[in-house]
């Protein structure tokens, strides 16, 4: 009797069928569609577009802003989530009385729907009544009060802030798990060698949480580039096209029946993710230290 026979490929079939039809096939078709002008679902007016869709997405000022914004959004949110997450994780790793309470509170936004979170901040960032501006004026800093969501230059950063608020606790929990896996005696050894607090962090903590750190970074970068929910809820890509990102651009193209351009934008996003994420991942995993 052949040994392999019990691990029959038949058991793989449901997975391959669903994944193939609803994930792989669209990926392949997406490449094809991106070179076509398609206005209707029935292809009645479809014509070959060459690289026209890509050209539009990359050069049309209403569309190529999505690329710029997606980079800004991914970069700003990743840096803030990972930095703040790391600070909070180090803080809560000190076995405070309030550690459990804090962890619960900071993680809470991660379980809520992005739409709910987006609406909360739409209210908080209201220029006249929103509590952010009210608090700034009350603190004697009226010059810092801004049109958070209606100033085209500022809006993408405001939306990024909402995303950071929602996911920092999540990042913190990933990093905290990494911190708590470091054996206590490593710190004792460092203490005996006379290491300062910063040296302990730099030479013990940081190298050993590198795996958790890498994952947090990669997950957040991908999440940032793919962003859709929060942006769509808070600004819908506006004012004008000021906060357009890949996700909202695809949604808009879909809504207005510009399917070819939507596919081109989506393919560009794929390529961007692969170009950004793979080298970051390789670079960081090369730096990990074996425990």
């Amino acid at each position: 009797m052949k040994r392999k026979s019990i691990y029959s490929y038949w058991m793989l079939l449901p997975c391959l069928a669903i994944f193939g039809i609803f994930f792989m096939l669209p990926a392949v078709m997406g490449v094809g569609f991106s070179f076509l002008n398609i206005r209707n679902v029935d292809f009645s007016t479809a014509t070959f577009a060459g690289i026209g869709n890509y050209k539009n997405v990359l050069t049309d000022s209403g569309m190529n802003i999505a690329i710029k914004n997606s980079f800004i959004f991914a970069f700003v949110t990743t840096v803030l989530k990972v930095t703040l997450g790391l600070l909070l994780a180090v803080l809560l790793n000190n076995k405070l009385k309030t550690t459990n309470f804090m962890r619960t509170v900071f993680f809470l936004p991660a379980v809520l729907s992005s739409v709910a979170v987006g609406l909360i901040f739409t209210a908080m960032m209201h220029p006249t009544n929103g509590i952010i501006n009210v608090a700034l004026r009350a603190a004697g800093l009226p010059m810092l009060a801004q049109n958070w969501l209606t100033d085209p230059k500022l809006a993408i950063f405001s939306v990024a802030f909402v995303e950071v608020w929602k996911w920092t606790g999540f990042t913190m929990v990933i990093l905290l798990a990494g911190l708590q896996s470091i054996p206590e005696h490593y710190y004792e050894a460092a203490r005996i060698d006379g290491a300062t607090g910063w040296q302990k962090f730099r030479y013990v903590t940081f190298p050993l949480i590198m795996p958790a750190f890498t994952n947090a970074l990669v997950v957040n970068l991908i999440g940032g580039l793919k962003a859709f929910d929060v942006v769509q809820t808070v600004t819908g890509g506006g004012p004008g096209t000021a906060t357009e990102v890949f996700g909202t651009l695809v949604y808009k193209s879909f809504g207005s029946g510009r399917y070819g351009e939507g596919c081109a934008a989506s393919i560009i996003l794929c390529v961007v993710i692969l170009i950004v994420v793979l080298p970051v991942y390789r670079f960081l995993t090369g730096k990990e230290v074996e425990m």
């Binding site: 804090m102 608020w165 990933i174």
Partner: protein, 272 residues
Amino acid sequence: MAKKVTGMAAEIFALICSLFMLVPFYMILINSFKSKEGAALVNLSLPDEWHIVENYTEMFREGGLGLAFRNSVLLTVPSVLVIIFVSSLAGFVLQRRVSKASKRLLMLILMGLFIPGQIIPTYFICYYMHVRTFLAAGLVLIASNLSMGVFLYTGYFKSIPRELDESAMLDGCNGLQLFFHIIFPLLKPITVTLFIITFMGIWNDFGTTIYFLNSSRNFTLTLTIYNFFGVHSSDWNLVFANVIAVSLPVIIVYFMAQKQIMSGMTSGAVKG
């Protein structure tokens, strides 16, 4: 002594940080109790007059929450069960088989962890297959979560010895019997993790459902908030009541099982 002072300072600092998280919740809760005019100011003061019952009954009447709750359950539960069933079977075969073909297939499926789904072609495929609304959204969400499922299960199968399979085979089990009677029960910890990740992801999904569930009869809870805000954008009291009512079940479940939910939701990233 110095250590005690730093400890205290750290506690106080942590508490101040937590205000950044709690104030928004307090704000929506307190404003959901106010009159329309009071809530328009979206401030943190207590209501002059409490409109708890009026606001919540009006919101429930207009928000269609009962139907939306049913829709959310109808979409989420079957999708999660299919993901668990299909990806555990696939993970089993892909981890146990040591061939080039199975390695390549695994790589292909794991690509889904990075690459975003191509939503427009997916919509076309569903259109031509006459797959609509819940079935379409469900299948697309299943497909986009299979990579995570296969990833978690193949990792977990490494800890289950092959000798177990072999002895079961000697007892006369075939592949499916082996899997369901012996292997699947052993997967419970990772199944719970996957259940949490996919349940939260699909329950809160917006990016896929917005393409496929486009009439109010089909809205999930997440979509109702979005739509409710579109209609009642000047009634912050009702909008906040809506956000509270939709979020409350999730928050209650979270408080009951926070350890599992935290480690479950983050484990996709921790094990990556």
